[in-house]
């Protein structure tokens, strides 16, 4: 701790004095909690530590990740470490992307009332409602693009008045878009054929039979490819 300046927070209604300048997760541990659920990667990627809080005197419920959000004076918080949200099983290869398979597998997306509560609940600042609307239109590419930063914490699904399981819809859309809308580069197949034909076996055998000094010399002679900037970009969509 930089200093032992304390601030008061309320964990499920119980008051604790915790240090200023630490995350909610660290503050709960300082208070004496030892997590079983509610802590995962501790870096904002796994979605295990979805947390909701209100501050005294404020009407608004806030949605955050405990491992990423700093404690603030007067937070009344609880974790939501699990979301009961059944998903639809599917065989990716059997889906016909020309039909609205998202709607077929998750018909409740048609219940969306555009209230935007899901978007407000997203700790990743994703435009969740916009991708649900895109899903309704069958615009799989748009769902994939908008939902890309999703960590499946489940807070959207916990808030939705229409009982949509947003993050499952988005997961299906991204996989579908990858297979149907983002073709595998041809050179990958060519390289696989070369590997199957044993095209690199001799070279690899040669390296494997080299002495340490020969290997070191070979390594020292490597030519480092110069980075080139591509003209146009289309990142992760």
């Amino acid at each position: 701790m930089a200093d032992e300046k304390l601030t008061r927070i309320y964990i499920m209604g119980k008051a604790y004095d915790v240090p200023v300048g630490v995350t909610i997760m660290d503050a709960m541990e300082y208070a004496g909690y030892r997590f079983i659920r509610g802590a995962g990667c501790r870096s904002g990627f796994c979605g295990a530590c979805g947390t909701v809080y209100r501050k005294a005197g404020e009407y608004r419920l806030e949605f955050v990740l405990a491992c990423q959000e700093m404690v603030e004076e007067g937070m009344h918080l609880t974790q939501l470490p699990f979301t009961p949200a059944p998903r639809a099983d599917y065989a990716l290869d059997d889906l016909d992307p020309s039909e609205n398979v998202l709607l077929q597998h998750y018909p409740e997306i048609a219940r969306c009332v555009s209230c935007n509560t899901c978007t407000k609940a997203c700790p990743q600042e994703i435009e969740v409602m916009d991708y649900v609307q895109a899903a309704l239109r069958g615009d799989v590419a748009r769902v994939a693009e908008l939902s890309f930063d999703c960590i499946a914490c489940g807070l959207c699904a916990m808030r939705c008045p229409a009982d949509i399981k947003h993050y499952h819809v988005a997961q299906m859309a991204r996989r579908l878009h990858s297979v149907a809308g983002s073709p595998t580069p041809e050179h990958l197949g060519a390289r696989m054929n070369e590997l199957d034909a044993g095209a690199f076996d001799d070279e690899l055998d040669g390296l494997a039979s080299m002495t340490l000094d020969e290997l070191k010399a070979k390594y020292a002679q490597r030519v480092i490819e110069k980075a080139q900037e591509p003209a146009t970009e289309e990142v992760a969509t």
């Binding site: 200023v20 983002s182 591509p230």
Partner: protein, 555 residues
């Protein structure tokens, strides 16, 4: 971020750090024009490592006194767990009526475990006859946090042989050659498999957007923004669910079971919520339990997930599997050094492969930005504690600047948020905009280079026990390159899963036993190690000492 108590702490940087940022800004145009420093020679690398890398401090390790790798030097934190008693005395475990009886038991819930499970099914085991068990949730793992990318030699100017040479040189030629070869040869196959499952890799004009990583000679880093690990892991998890493979969460293994012939026969699990023991009988067992970051070796903070406590090493070692390269630890060169709330979290190497350069308090560069990780880390430690050119934070941590605004200068405005969305978000949450200001970094404990010794088919020394991913060693030797851990868990998860399925079709355990645990405890005692330490650790304890001291075990 509006709390007045936190003003000046979270709103960007305090004034004295701002003064150093001004120097970074002054030198930026010149540094961009001049280009980066050149890579170090082999001799200069060796000298730097010897003087400044934490692995080279002899007093931070000791020889392990018992077991299959007796005499090997390992960090004290690892030896403390290997030389420990079981969490549950074998006599207290009822082996007579297993709670589960399966063909393939997979210990772990991360990348390697998921890949092994899918390929065990691919190899002909019924999904319901596979069981994944994990300490936290399926996907709470290091795989999900990997940001920068995955290596695979798929482009025409590249080849598995070039990749192999990069891997061996990066590992200081200590890698097990057959494992390194399997890694590079399977690379393109794993990318193709991901494509078939619907992983969304970054593409430009229909081709992969491939970049360099530290120590690579070709651009072969495939990425999915800086959520590469997340993107692969969530697709794998979704597919495990589609296929219908059962997953038991919050139920870590605490010891392996052997049969009368000494073959692996399952494991004893511990239900973290009900605190019950659960016995699983299995024809084949796959160890995919990940690494040891949460041991905080040498007191370093870590990028690792909450459950990375080396449980797999402990269980396998007790059961007779040898370890390899356990003297070496990977410190990622760039962990977060400020703000303190996210100390030690990962600042991906992709920041450097997109052009961000490490610079010191005077705004001067001091190292080629893409040295192999151990070399880069040693250079940053030397800059802070040898050259005294680090920047000190209000909490007394030292670091160097990673000049992230260079990425925008090189590739154009908007690039950073587009390609490094997770990184932008991480600092943004703490009031720092890394498109405008540099980020303060210092090495952080990142990866277990060594692990359980395996062969190229994922076999361990124990028949019927297979391993893949971070728990296994030898692939990377004493230093792993960026982008080879995601590849590793795919390649060796697959190989372990296939080998386990094949073994399970032909072998069945004869009786369940924990005699090996008794024997290990006896060996500890005869070596004069009278300890009350228990292992596996299962979870680290970050509660305040004062709270722990007052704690009652009343329920």
């Amino acid at each position: 971020m509006t709390d007045p108590q936190l003003a000046g702490i979270q709103d960007g940087y305090p004034d004295d750090m701002r003064a150093s940022i001004a120097k970074v800004e002054e030198t930026r145009a010149r540094r961009l024009k001049e280009g980066t420093r050149a890579p170090l020679s082999a001799e200069a690398r060796a000298e730097l490592l010897e003087a400044w890398h934490p692995d080279y401090k002899a007093d931070r390790k000791r020889e392990v006194a018992v077991g299959p790798s007796k005499g090997d030097r390992m960090p004290h934190e690892v030896v403390d767990l290997l030389e420990a008693r079981p969490s549950v005395e074998p006599a207290a475990v009822d082996l007579s009526s297993p709670g589960f009886d399966v063909s393939v038991l997979i210990l772990g819930g991360g990348g390697a475990a998921s890949v092994a499970a899918l390929f065990a099914v691919e190899e002909g085991i019924a999904p319901a006859d596979v069981l994944m068990v994990t300490k936290l949730r399926h996907g709470d793992c290091n795989s999900v946090m990997a940001q920068g990318g995955i290596q695979a030699a798929d482009r025409e100017n590249d080849s598995p042989a070039i990749h192999y040479l990069d891997v061996l040189g990066g590992g200081h030629y200590t890698n097990e050659p057959s494992l390194a070869r399997a890694l590079v040869e399977d690379g393109p196959r794993m990318i193709a498999w991901h494509e078939s499952l619907g992983v969304l890799y970054d593409k430009v004009d229909g081709e992969y957007l491939e970049a360099h990583g530290g120590g690579t000679s070709r651009m072969r880093m495939h990425s999915a923004k800086d959520y590469t690990g997340l993107e692969i892991m969530r697709v794998l998890r979704d597919e495990v669910r589609n296929v219908g493979i059962p997953v038991l969460e919050f139920a870590p293994a605490i010891d392996l079971l052997l049969d009368e012939a000494g073959n692996a026969a399952g494991a004893v699990l511990f239900n973290l919520e009900t605190e019950e023991q659960v016995v699983v009988r299995a024809r084949a067992t796959v160890l995919a339990t990940g690494g040891f970051g949460r041991l905080h070796i040498q007191g370093f903070p870590t990028t690792n997930h909450y459950g990375a406590t080396a449980d797999g090493l402990v269980m396998a070692y007790r059961a007779g599997a040898g370890l390899v390269d356990m003297d070496s630890v990977q410190y990622h060169p760039t962990g977060v050094a400020y703000p303190a709330a996210i100390l030690g979290q990962l600042a991906t190497e992709k920041l450097r492969n997109q052009g961000a350069e490490p610079v010191n308090a005077d705004g001067e560069s001091f190292v080629f930005p893409l040295e192999p990780r151990d070399v880069e880390a040693a250079a940053i430690i030397r800059e802070c504690y040898g050259e005294e050119k680090g920047i000190e934070t209000p909490s007394g941590v030292r670091g160097v600047w990673l000049d992230t605004p260079m990425i925008e200068e090189i590739h154009g405005p908007g690039t950073l948020k587009e390609r490094l969305a997770a990184m932008w978000m991480m600092w943004h949450r703490h009031g720092i905009d890394i498109t405008v200001d540099p980020a303060l970094v210092f090495p952080t404990l990142h990866y277990q280079n060594g692990g359980v010794r395996i062969d190229a088919d994922g076999r361990t020394a124990i028949p019927g026990l297979f391993a893949g991913g971070e728990v296994a060693g030898g692939v990377h030797g004493k230093n792993r390159l960026m982008g080879n851990s995601l590849l590793d868990y795919n390649v060796f998860g697959r190989r372990a899963g296939i080998s386990a399925a094949r073994w399970a079709k032909e072998n069945a355990p004869s009786g369940l036993s924990l005699k090996h645990v008794d024997a290990f405890v006896a060996a500890l005692e005869s070596a004069g190690i009278g300890t009350d330490r228990t292992a596996p650790m299962i979870l680290p304890d970050y509660r305040r000492e004062a709270v722990i001291a007052r704690r009652l075990d009343a329920l």
